[in-house]
């Protein structure tokens, strides 16, 4: 295969699966900036080793394997800077995420509906936190709540979204 076709093939496969790989990484590393760094590194590794990827096999499985190794490598590097989960814990989580892969994809698709159903201020808080990337203190100021109260609200919203998605999928 000519090299530029190979490049296009890689870019298309990456485009197709990058969200699944990205969420897979974030399930293990929920810290946003860390997860983003890991995903970047993983993509580079994927590209460098793309010649070893066999056409016709699962790109997602291959990409996840690489991403998992990047998570472990990152953990090792960062162990002193920040609290890190044990390797055993990450392995258990990764396995669960892989096994539930199809179900998690369905959850992802249902989530948009559930976000739409949130009441006005809850949706605003989610937007401020995730879309604008504001810290809890800044959001608390904005919506006139204490920091402690906002942590509780955020937790409650995530829990509500989690239950909403589960309920919707159970119904269908």
């Amino acid at each position: 295969m000519p090299e530029h076709d190979r490049t296009e093939e890689f870019i298309c496969l990456l485009a197709r699966y990058e969200r699944q790989v990205s969420t897979y990484v974030m399930v293990m590393v929920p810290h946003v900036a860390d997860a983003e760094d890991i995903i970047q590194e993983a993509k580079l590794v994927m590209w460098r080793h793309f010649s070893k990827f066999k056409a016709g096999t699962s790109f997602l499985a291959w990409a996840r394997k690489i991403a998992f190794h990047q998570v472990l490598a990152f953990r090792k590097r960062k162990q002193r800077d920040r609290l890190q989960f044990s390797e055993e814990f990450l392995t258990v989580i990764a396995e669960e995420a892989e096994n539930a892969s199809d179900y998690l994809e369905k959850r992802r698709r249902t989530l948009t509906d559930c976000i739409e159903k949130l009441q006005g201020q809850h949706r605003e808080i989610i937007q401020l936190r995730y879309h604008q990337g504001l810290g809890v203190e800044a959001i608390a100021d904005r919506v006139d709540r204490t920091e402690g109260a906002l942590y509780r609200v955020l937790s409650r919203i995530r829990q509500m979204l989690h239950s909403c998605v589960s309920r919707q999928l159970m119904r269908s």
Partner: protein, 516 residues
């Protein structure tokens, strides 16, 4: 909210602390024990973090930095790193060694950067005619397309420039509304219909994540590919329409020419010719059974929201559908020329005179929907001129729409419908029997408005349709605004026998009812 078992509640508390970075060492240990020791909590943990992750990617419109960004970074110099700011645009800042970019660059510069940019900007690039370009595009090196036209476009947090005329590099575009025409450097042109999300990859490829597009591909761009989650649509010199729902379900119609569909999971290659449509899912490529009703063609295909969700339009002309109006008093006492009747219009009026009040009845045949659940619905009427009465004698007029809940009365006949026997009719000019009807909503016709359309939608309409058990739905339309003087305008709406205007129509988004 129902209270949760104690250990689950504890787990949720710890999950939140993980996300908000509030977890202490002791709590981390406790969480690890809970998650590794309890299958249910483990499952919950993965789902919870997955939800957090999805909100992040969805809300930030964040496709993690693409290969192109990495290539760009290599060209900015070696002591730099790619980082993200809150706008999720890639920025290049001074080194904060998350990892050693110098090594990465060394590996990349020799291989990928040259290869990728070379491939993307290769011979095909040089051969394409110059495209109209304007806007601020300084410094772009890897343009794959130009945004050639925008109509009412609204964009969401795109990382690409979204002004008409902008040159577009590889990246993600989210159109929340409107039509955007994108002309690729290969010559292929797509018209994207919001809401839609697309990744521009190369002059010959794009990845449609959700929404609709129509692609027109000239011979020189033969091979132009619309990548979707479940299949690659490889053009062979043609025009085709594609619709992807957020769930990934895919509908495609070839308007002219030939498209090859390469199914992702099975690798199966299928050819779709002009006039043919196809539904593509993870399971495979289907070319028949695409349309819900005979004669509707692929019109039911767009607007897919979830698996198997479809838009269905039923008018009063369909099946057992009917429409008619009733008139108070005794019109027979007037001369033929003064009766002010109509065969093709549905007349509605709230009159001070006992003889001239009119109410319209609409009957819809819902039998094709018996296995579906309505998730969205709009009742649409076309405003016509009746020619009777004076518009100046009635202000902006509010019309009430009622649904007949007493289903035994649904079988009324057009030819026999009259003031005294019409289901749930009461003497008042805007009055109906509220024990046998439910108020669906209202609409307003502006004073003097003699054309256009009006509609009613909302929860009440959806619930009314879903509560139907006999596959027939009757609506009653009354004018709530009373005339200020006798002789006011008779409002009219096109009926099913109208020669040129659309009959009363129910447009519904439906999804299959899954048997329990």
């Amino acid at each position: 909210m129902k209270s949760l078992p104690k250990h689950i509640e504890e787990a949720y508390g710890l999950f939140a602390k993980v996300v908000d970075e509030q977890l202490t060492k002791i709590e981390a240990k406790r969480l690890e024990d809970l998650v590794t020791g309890d299958v249910e909590i483990r499952k919950l943990y993965v789902e919870y973090m997955h939800t957090h992750s999805c909100i992040h990617w969805e809300q930030t419109n964040a496709v993690a930095p693409s290969i192109k960004d990495l290539v760009d970074a290599t060209e900015e110099g070696s002591n730099q790193r790619v980082s993200w700011n809150s706008e999720k645009r890639i920025s290049v800042g001074s080194a904060v060694s998350a990892f050693n970019w110098k090594d990465v660059f060394r590996l990349l510069v020799g291989s990928f950067a040259v290869l990728a940019v070379g491939a993307w900007m290769g011979s095909r690039w040089e051969l394409t005619p110059e495209l109209p370009v304007s806007g601020s595009t300084g410094g772009l090196r890897n343009v794959v397309a130009v945004l050639t036209q925008t109509v009412g476009c609204r964009w969401q947090g795109s990382r690409l420039p979204t002004l008409s005329g902008s040159q577009l590099e590889p990246g993600n575009l989210r159109l929340t509304g409107g039509l955007a025409t994108i002309t690729f450097r290969s010559g292929a042109e797509i018209v994207l219909e919001g809401p839609a999300e697309i990744d521009l990859i190369t002059p010959m490829r794009c990845f449609l994540r959700s929404g609709k597009l129509v692609a027109k591909v000239p011979p020189e761009a033969k091979g132009f590919t619309v990548v979707t989650e479940h299949a690659d649509l490889i053009d062979q010199g043609t025009e085709f329409g594609v619709s992807v729902s957020p769930s990934g379900a895919l509908g495609m119609s070839v308007i002219d020419g030939l498209v090859e569909v390469r199914h992702q999971r099975s690798g199966v290659l299928k050819q779709i010719r002009d006039g043919e449509s196809s539904v593509i899912s993870e399971a495979g490529v289907a070319t028949d059974g695409v349309v819900l009703f005979e004669g509707w063609g692929t019109e039911v295909m767009p607007d897919l929201r979830r698996d198997d969700t479809q838009t269905v339009t039923v008018s009063t002309a369909f099946g057992r559908g009917r429409d008619a109006y009733i008139q108070s008093g005794n019109p027979e006492k007037y001369l033929e020329a003064e009766r002010h009747n109509s065969e093709s219009l549905l007349l509605v009026k709230n009159s001070l005179d006992e003889d001239w009040t009119r109410k319209a009845y609409l009957g819809f045949d819902l039998s094709p929907l018996s296995d579906y659940h309505v998730v969205e619905a709009v009742l649409n009427l076309t405003i016509e001129s009746s020619g009777f009465g004076y518009a100046s004698l009635v202000p902006d007029a509010t019309f009430g729409v009622y649904g007949l809940t007493e289903e035994t009365l649904d079988e009324w006949l057009e030819s026999e419908l009259d003031w005294d026997s019409a289901p749930s009719n009461l003497p008042g000019g805007a009055e109906v029997d509220l024990n046998r009807t439910v108020r669906i909503g209202e609409f307003i016709v502006i004073q003097g408005e003699l054309a256009g359309s009006c509609e009613v939608s909302g929860r009440q309409l959806i619930d009314f349709l879903n509560e139907d058990t006999n596959q027939l739905a009757t609506f009653i339309i009354v004018r709530e605004t009373l005339e200020s003087k006798v002789g006011s305008i008779v409002h009219a709406f096109a009926g099913k026998d109208h020669l040129t205007s659309a009959a009363p129509t129910l447009r519904m988004t439906v999804e299959p009812i899954v048997p329990k």
